[in-house]
Each structure stands twice: as C-alpha cells, then as structure tokens.
C-alpha cells in the first residue's frame, strides 16, 4: 500500500487528485451566494459592517462612534455628522458532506471514489482560499467528521482523511443532516455529494441545512449502470445497503418504468431544491469529475 502524502509537494499527485488538476484548482475559489459570517476574520466579505477598506454604507453619528470614520465631506455640505461603514472581511465555512453508504460502493466507475474526488477537489479549493473546511462522511448518521481544516498545509491531512473513509451501511440523510446541523451551527457553503438513493427520503434532510441558512448544493452522482441498466432475465436484485431482495423479470416495459421512476425521482428532488434555493447538480460517474468540478460546479456558481 502506498504511503499517504504528508507534504503539499507529495499531494500534488495522488489517487484522488491529479497534479494537473490540482494546479487548476488553485485558481478557483468557492463562492457563496449568501455572504456568511464566521468567527474569524477571513478573506470573505461579510454583510456585517466592519473595518475593511471597502465602503459599504452611511449612518448617523452617535456619541461614541469612531471619529476616524466620519465623512467630513458630507459634513461640509450638509452640516451633519455621518459615519462611513465598511464591509467586514470574514472567514467562509465550507462543509462537504459525502454519502458513504453502501449504495455508493456500486458502479463502475465507483460512486464513492468519484465522490471522494469531488470532496477532495472542493476541500482543496477551500484550503487554498483560507476557507474553513469541514469534512463530514455520513450514512444514516455522521460516521466520520473533521472540522476546521485551514490553509494548504492541511491538505495532506485532508486527503488522508478522505482516503480512509469507509463505505458501507444504510442510507439515511435525514438523520445525518440533523446531526450535522446540531454540531455545525455556523453558516456557510454546504455541498452534499450523494446518489440520493435514500429509502427514507433524501429531501427530508434538506430542511436541516436550509434552516441553518446555509448555501446548500446537492451533487447527485449516479453510475452508468444505474442510468441505463444492462440487465436481463429472471433476477433477484439484492440491495447493497440492507440486503433486501427484489425479484424481477427484466422486460422492456419494466426497464421503461424504471427509467421513468428514476427521472421522477430526480425531478422531485430538483423541484424541492429549487423551491428552497438549493442548487441541484446531477452527474454520472462516467463523466470525468474534472468536468464536473471545472464545468458544472462553476456553471452553478459554486466555484469561480
């Protein structure tokens, strides 16, 4: 087994991210449509009025305000005291939630590996931009989580963490989202990477993210075998998560109904996300994930 990289130089070429791709990620940054606050000062504008050089607004002077921020030009014209307000430069919380349930182990290319790469790419972008990166792996609960990765120097640890994530168990986003929301109260950007094949209902967990007023993104990854099943005959389909068996006889009508159900499933989640301001992206693991990151996610405004 190859030893995990421990330096930035070593991680420039790993099983998750290629060297070339890493170089391209360094030019990106994660964008939040909703400007969030963090405890520490970061590189992000905040809607809060702060001490940055960027003018934001005026307000009436009250006793005790900093006299250095009085706009003397306005006083000369209007003979009234107004205070300049500037945007606060704050830190962005980037949380990436990766579904590591049993269903993610299926597919060729494997969905879990694909998801780990997406998680690693987004985490690297966040680290490069001094964002506070939180990584969370879930099934029907949060199975692994690391909070507050900062700076590029954290990349080896990030990759190590992602690489070691186990895959298996039953899906249940609602439980995982609840637990995440309880443990992570900060606003920020939240990206959920999953196949959304959750028997308990994926959308039941989104309110926990939306309620924290996070800038949520949902990235659905499906394998080509799920998008266009190549099955035939009398089969006993075994669920990779709970072992449930569905006896089917593959026929054209059945395949047609499956495709319809798949589209309805996606459409339902898409509509739900749209109504709640959650961005929804769906992709196949056959799609190069670089295309997903550099193309689709940039197109949705998550990256720029």
């Amino acid at each position: 087994m190859t030893a995990l990289p421990t330096t930035v130089a070593e991680v420039r070429s790993t099983s998750l991210l290629s060297a070339d791709f890493i170089a391209r990620l360094e030019r990106l940054e994660i964008v939040s449509r909703k400007i969030h606050s963090a405890r520490q000062r970061g590189d992000r504008r905040s809607r809060r009025r702060g001490d940055s050089a960027e003018f934001a607004d005026y307000r009436n002077y009250v006793s005790g305000d900093d006299l250095r921020h009085i706009d003397w030009n306005i006083y000369a014209r209007l003979d009234r005291l107004f205070l300049k307000l500037f945007f606060e430069e704050e830190e962005l919380n980037v949380s990436i939630l990766l579904d590591v349930s049993g269903s993610m182990s299926a597919g060729a290319p494997e969905k879990a590996l694909y998801g780990k790469r997406v998680m690693a790419a987004l985490a690297y972008v966040g680290l490069c931009n001094h964002d506070r990166v939180n990584l969370c792996a879930y099934t029907n609960r949060v199975v692994r989580a690391r909070w507050g990765f900062r700076g590029r120097r954290s990349l080896p640890e990030v990759l190590s963490f992602i690489d070691a994530l186990p895959v298996g168990g039953a899906s249940g986003f609602v439980g995982a989202a609840r637990e995440f929301a309880m443990r992570h109260t900060q606003k920020g950007v939240c990206v959920v990477v999953s196949d959304l094949l959750d028997k308990q209902g994926f959308t039941a967990g989104l309110p926990y993210l939306v309620g924290r007023r996070m800038d949520a993104y949902v990235v659905q990854t499906l394998s080509p075998q799920e998008l266009a099943p190549e099955l035939a005959g009398d089969l006993a389909l075994v669920d990779a998560e709970d072992g449930e068996v569905a006896e089917v006889t593959i026929s054209r009508p059945l395949l047609d109904r499956y495709m319809s159900r798949l589209e309805e499933h996606r459409a339902a989640i898409r509509a739900y996300c749209l109504r709640r301001g959650v961005s929804f992206v769906t992709t196949s693991t056959a799609q190069p994930f670089e295309t997903l990151v550099l193309g689709y996610l940039r197109g949705r405004g998550l990256l720029r």
Binding site: S103, S223, G233, L235, L237, D239, A240, L254, R257, H265
Partner: protein, 676 residues
C-alpha cells in the same frame, strides 16, 4: 368418494404436476445481482403491475394463452362427446352373456367375457347423467346383477362382478326379465302420475318405449322366442374374434345290453375353426388311460363352413367334414368316472373335456300297467329291445290291489319306470311314471280339450327325455290337452297344445302323453325305444347318474337321496362345497350347473352314500365361437354394434388436458423475457 376416470386423472397429474414443479423450481433459480439500491426497481415493478390492466390490448402472448386456457376449461365443463350412436332413451338394460362361449380366449390372451365387460363398462361410462340402467347376466338362466338405478357407478361395478360359466346361451328369459323389470318400474312411475290408468289397458303405458336393450355377447345366441318388446330398442355389442376351436359336442356312455361288463363310449367331435385339423382324443377311466389299444384315437376334421353353407359337415372321421366320431370300448365290471379329452390347445378349453359316470352294471327294471293286450305288447316289445332286466306287467286292477312290496321298496318305486296305458291312479310313490292317454290322480291335473289332426311342430330335444327323438316324423291323430300346474314342461307340442308334458311333484316324475299309443305311429318309430330308454335313465328312482347322456351345463337335475339321508354335501368341480337338507321322499334338486365337471354328493345316510354327477358342455352352439354375420333374436335381426367401439366418446378429458397444457405453457412464458 370415487372417481369415474381415475386413470385419466392420474395420467394427467403424472404429466402436468412434475412439469409445474419443474417450472416452479426454474422460477426459484433467479440469478442474484447486487445493485446499489432496489428503491427504484420496486417502484418500477409495482408500476408495471398496477398499469398492466390498463395497457392497450396489443398482441399479448400471455393473454392469448390465458384465453386459450379458459376456453379449454369451459369446453371441458360443457362435457363434449363424439356421438356415434346416441342413446336418447332414459332407461337401458344391459344384458351380458356369461355363457360357455364367452370363456374363449382371444388373441390378447384374455377371455372373451373380459372384453365384453370392458365394452359394457365403456358403454355405461358414455351414458348421459340421469340415465337409468340395469344389468342382467344370462347363460342358461338370467340373473339380475343390478336392478334399475341411475347410479352408473354401481352399474359399472355390477358388470365387473360377472363371472364366466360353461352354460348354454338362452336369452329369452333374460329378455322377459328385462321387460318385466322395466314394466314394474314404469308402472310404479306411471301409477304415481295417473291414478286413473286402467289396469286392463297395459298397452297404454307402453312400457317398452324409452327402453334400450344393449346385449354384450359374441352373438352365438339361439333364436329366442318372439318376445313382445313393446317398442324397446335392441342392439348387440358383439365381441370376440377367435375362431379356432375343436370341441366335444356329444358324449354317450352305455353298457352293452347283452354284455353288461362291456362299456361303450361314443362321442362326437366337431371342428369350428377355419382350418382343417387332426387331433388326438383320449379316454381315461378313473384317471388312468383305458387298457388296450385305442385309448388314444386320432381324428381328422375339416374346416368348418360358414354358417348356412350347404354340406358343411360330415358325420364320420376322415370324410373331410368338420365333424368326427370316436368310439371307445372297454371292459369294466364296476362303476367309475370316464373322461374324454381332446388334446388340442385352442381358444375354448372347456369343451375339450367331457366326463361321464358309469354306473355299475345293473339291468333296468320296468312296470307296464295296461288293460289292452295290443298296447301291452307294444310296450313289452320296446322294453325287451332295450334289454330291460326286469319287466313286470300288471292289469290296472292288479296294480291297485298289489301288495306294497311288489311296487315299492323303501318308500320308492322299485322299478326304474312304471308305464300306465289308459289307467289313472293315485297310488304313486316317489319314482318315475309315464302315462299314456291317462293322468295321475292329483290336484291340479285334469283334462282340457281334445285336439285332432294337428301336426307336431316342436319337440324339446334339449330335455333328457327328448334327446335324440326325431319328432318330425311322428303323427298323432288326436290328443287330449292336459291341464297341469304351471311348472309342467311341454316336451312335444302341436301348434297350440302339448301332446307330451313332463311334471315333477313331491319326488315323483311324470311323463304325461295325452294320446292313445295305438292312435299314433310312435310305437313304429325309431323314437319309441329311444323315448323309453330316456325315461328309464332319467326318471329312475336311483337317480339320473346311471348311464347314458350326462346332464349338460344349464340343466337342473334331480337327485334321489338314499333312504335315511337328511343332509347332503355337494362338492362342485371348482372345489366349492355347500350343504343342504334333504328329505327321503323328495328328490334333491342339483341346480346351478354353471360349470362343467364332476359334482360329488355325499349323503349322511347310515351307508355314507356318495354319488357323482358329470356335467358337460356338449353344446355345439357354445363351441361355435366364431361370431355370426347376422344375429336374430325373437324373430328379428338385431342391430350389431362393434363392441370395441364405444357409443359415445366423451371428449371433456381432452379439453381438460389441453387446459393443463395451456396453463403450463402460460406459466413458462410468464416467467421468461417477453418481447412485447
């Protein structure tokens, strides 16, 4: 609970059940495939099931198969039949021939009766529900095996119980019995419907209408008396193809009148097959071949001609005809059993052997009572010609005044035969009596009218007394018709009255001839000594087992028990034993001679008397196993049905089989990939 077609059901189950089980196991062998989630697959399968009824009616193999299955089941419920000969009558009488010819072995090794039973059962199975049927078996006499019933399963079971016999074929009584049963049931039904039906107008009931008489036989039926079938329809289901048979048609054992120690065995052998044969005939005495040369004789017999062809039989060996005679003679001073055997394996074995019981040498005894010298002379002359050992003559007065010991011994007539010429008497101890132009004085016996110048049209030659009597040359100018009890038999008849009758009463056997011997040509005919001989041998007080012709199957013979006997044990040829009480003054009736062979009687008298009675087939009609081209019963030619072809072939079984096949195919298609 029983099943009408158990075999068909088992065959269908054996074919289809393993197939369905096999398909079921095939169904279970699904290939397991791991998928990321069954979430969407379950929803898709459920959609397919829910939406299936609402799909457009396209070319659907499963639907077609299910419709085919439904059509087949519905066809089976409708009970289709292939109708060749439809029985639309509600009542059926099944007459099954159990006579000797039905023992003939067919090409498949099974007796002809078994084929007839199968054909009858198949016919019963084809009858529509609600048909009333009854089963009557017939040989020498009929027997109701199953009274009229609508339970066809009981009818089929009754058919299976019928066993073969060696009896001759007499269908007349069976037809009368069938009509009587039908009439009694119809009358009961009609009586319930109409209480005002006139009893004297029985024809209005038309009991024969709605009645089918189905006869299962090989067709070797002697022409029965014309019977008023009153509208009943009669059909013959003919069975039997075997033709090869050589049989003994007559056996006569006699002692030489001049040399009582010498025994003559005369037999007639006939070939009924299509090929000429030469066969050996042997004679054994007490189980051992008789001594001397000639214990085995070869007989050459020609092929039997088709019935009706002229010149179809010869009468002596070697002349090319189908009949041949053999004569054995041997010295034997005691009694014993002789056995004549034709050494040939053919279709009917029961007529290859004939037995006879030879009585110890004993001269017959006869009493003649007459007041007319001429009549007395005629009777004495006949007796002397027969070699009667003791001949006594009396006048009527002498007879009436004779001492008891002169006439009787041990309560029985001490003579084999007492002949009365124009003398009526009531002094009649148990024994054999012949009355010419006179009657025994007893209740129920009297004269009726006088018949003049009537021809003799019928003689009951099958009766022991009338055997070998050629009646066609007899002429009787006039006779008086006797009023006798209904059980009396007519032995010689004119167009509408009996000239000679036979009556049995309380151990006494009477031959009653209503004419004057001297007003007929009987004393001059060859038949006269034969008539006397027959009466001597069959009517003697010692019984009918002395000598001459043995009784034949179907006969009912009377045996005189010895003095002091109260019980008799009868051992039949098949070994079955039965006991019965006997009275010293009454003959014991040995009835139900259904099988050929030797019957042994053991009495419980102080002497422990045993008697043997040999019963043979000796019936050319039964030995002629080749079926006839046309059969006449009651003066009418009977419709013949191929007995191997059932009348109504039910087809519902095929419909159900088709339904099962469609079900199996539909199951298979449903679980395969269907290209729609």
């Amino acid at each position: 609970m029983t099943f009408l077609s158990l075999k068909a059901g088992l065959w269908a189950a054996a074919a289809v059940v393993p197939l369905l089980i096999l398909l079921y196991f095939l169904k279970l062998k699904r290939q397991r495939r791991e998928v990321s989630s069954t979430l969407l697959w379950r929803r898709a399968v459920e959609d397919l099931r829910v939406n299936a009824p609402f799909q457009r009616l396209r070319r659907n193999l499963l639907l077609f198969l299910q419709l085919l299955l439904l059509a087949a089941v519905l066809a089976g419920i409708a009970e289709p039949v292939a109708r060749f000969l439809r029985t639309s009558r509600p009542r059926v009488v099944i007459l099954l021939d159990r006579s000797g010819s039905m023992r003939a072995t067919e090409a498949d090794g099974r007796p002809r009766l078994e084929h007839a039973r199968e054909a009858a059962e198949a016919f019963v199975a084809s009858l529509p529900a609600g048909t009333e049927a009854m089963v009557v078996s017939f040989g020498a006499s009929p027997a109701v095996v199953q009274p009229l019933t609508s339970d066809l399963r009981r009818v089929a079971a009754a058919i299976r119980e019928i066993e073969p016999t060696d009896e001759p074929t007499r269908i007349e009584q069976a037809l009368q019995l069938a009509m009587a049963y039908s009439e009694s049931n119809s009358a009961a039904a009609a009586g319930a419907e109409s209480e005002n039906a006139a009893a004297e107008d029985d024809r209005s009931l038309d009991t024969g209408a709605g009645l089918d008489i189905e006869i299962f036989s090989d067709g070797n039926i002697a022409d029965a008396e014309p019977t008023d079938r009153a509208g009943a329809r009669m059909r013959l289901h003919r069975v039997g193809e075997a033709t090869d048979n050589v049989g003994i048609t007559m056996l006569d054992v006699r002692r030489d009148a001049d040399r009582p120690g010498m025994v003559f065995v005369f037999a007639e052998i006939e070939n009924f097959g299509r090929e000429a044969v030469t066969t050996d005939v042997s004679l054994s005495l007490e189980g051992r071949p008789i001594s001397g040369p000639g214990s085995v004789q070869a007989v050459a017999l020609g092929a039997a001609e088709d019935e009706g062809a002229p010149g179809s039989a010869g009468v002596s060996s070697g002349d090319g005809g189908s009949r041949g005679n053999v004569l054995f003679e041997f010295e034997h001073g005691a009694g014993g059993e002789v056995r004549l055997e034709v050494h040939r394996a053919d279709a009917l074995a029961s007529d290859n052997v004939a037995c006879a019981v030879v009585a110890p040498p004993r001269a017959a005894s006869m009493l003649v009572v007459s007041g007319r010298p001429r009549a007395l002379a005629v009777l004495v002359k006949a007796a002397e010609a027969l070699g009667v050992g003791e001949l006594r003559t009396m006048s009527p007065g002498e007879y009436e005044s004779a001492a008891e010991g002169e006439i009787a011994a041990g309560g029985r007539l001490r003579f084999d035969l007492a002949v009365f010429d124009q003398h009526e008497t009531d002094r009649l101890v148990p024994g054999g009596y012949a009355f010419f132009d006179s009657l025994p004085k007893m209740d129920g016996v009297s004269w009726s009218r006088t018949v003049e110048r009537q021809p003799i049209v019928y003689g009951r030659n099958e009766h022991a007394i009338m055997r070998n009597i050629d009646y066609e040359t007899l002429y009787i100018s006039r006779w008086r018709e006797a009023i006798l009890p209904p059980r009396a038999l007519r032995l010689l008849e004119g167009p509408d009255s009996a000239a000679i009758s036979y009556l049995e009463d309380a151990g006494r056997r009477f031959v009653i001839a209503g004419f004057d011997l001297l007003e007929s040509n009987l004393p001059l005919a060859e038949a006269f000594p034969m008539l006397i001989q027959n009466m001597l041998t069959s009517m003697s007080a010692s019984g009918a087992a002395d000598s001459g012709r043995s009784p034949r199957t179907g006969d009912s013979i009377m045996v005189t028990p010895p003095a002091g006997a109260t019980r008799v044990t009868v051992t039949r040829p098949d070994g079955a034993r039965e006991a019965a009480a006997v009275r010293a003054v009454a003959d014991f009736a040995l009835g139900e001679l259904r099988g050929a062979g030797v019957f042994r009687l053991s009495f419980d008298d102080p002497a422990g008397t045993t008697k043997a009675v040999a019963v043979n087939v000796e019936d050319a009609n039964e030995s002629r196993i080749r079926t006839k081209g046309a059969v006449r019963i009651g003066g009418e030619e009977v419709d013949i049905v191929g007995a191997e072809r059932p009348t109504n072939v039910p087809l519902w079984k095929y419909a159900v089989a088709a339904a099962l096949a469609a079900l199996a195919l539909e199951w298979w298609v449903y679980h395969r990939r269907v290209m729609i």
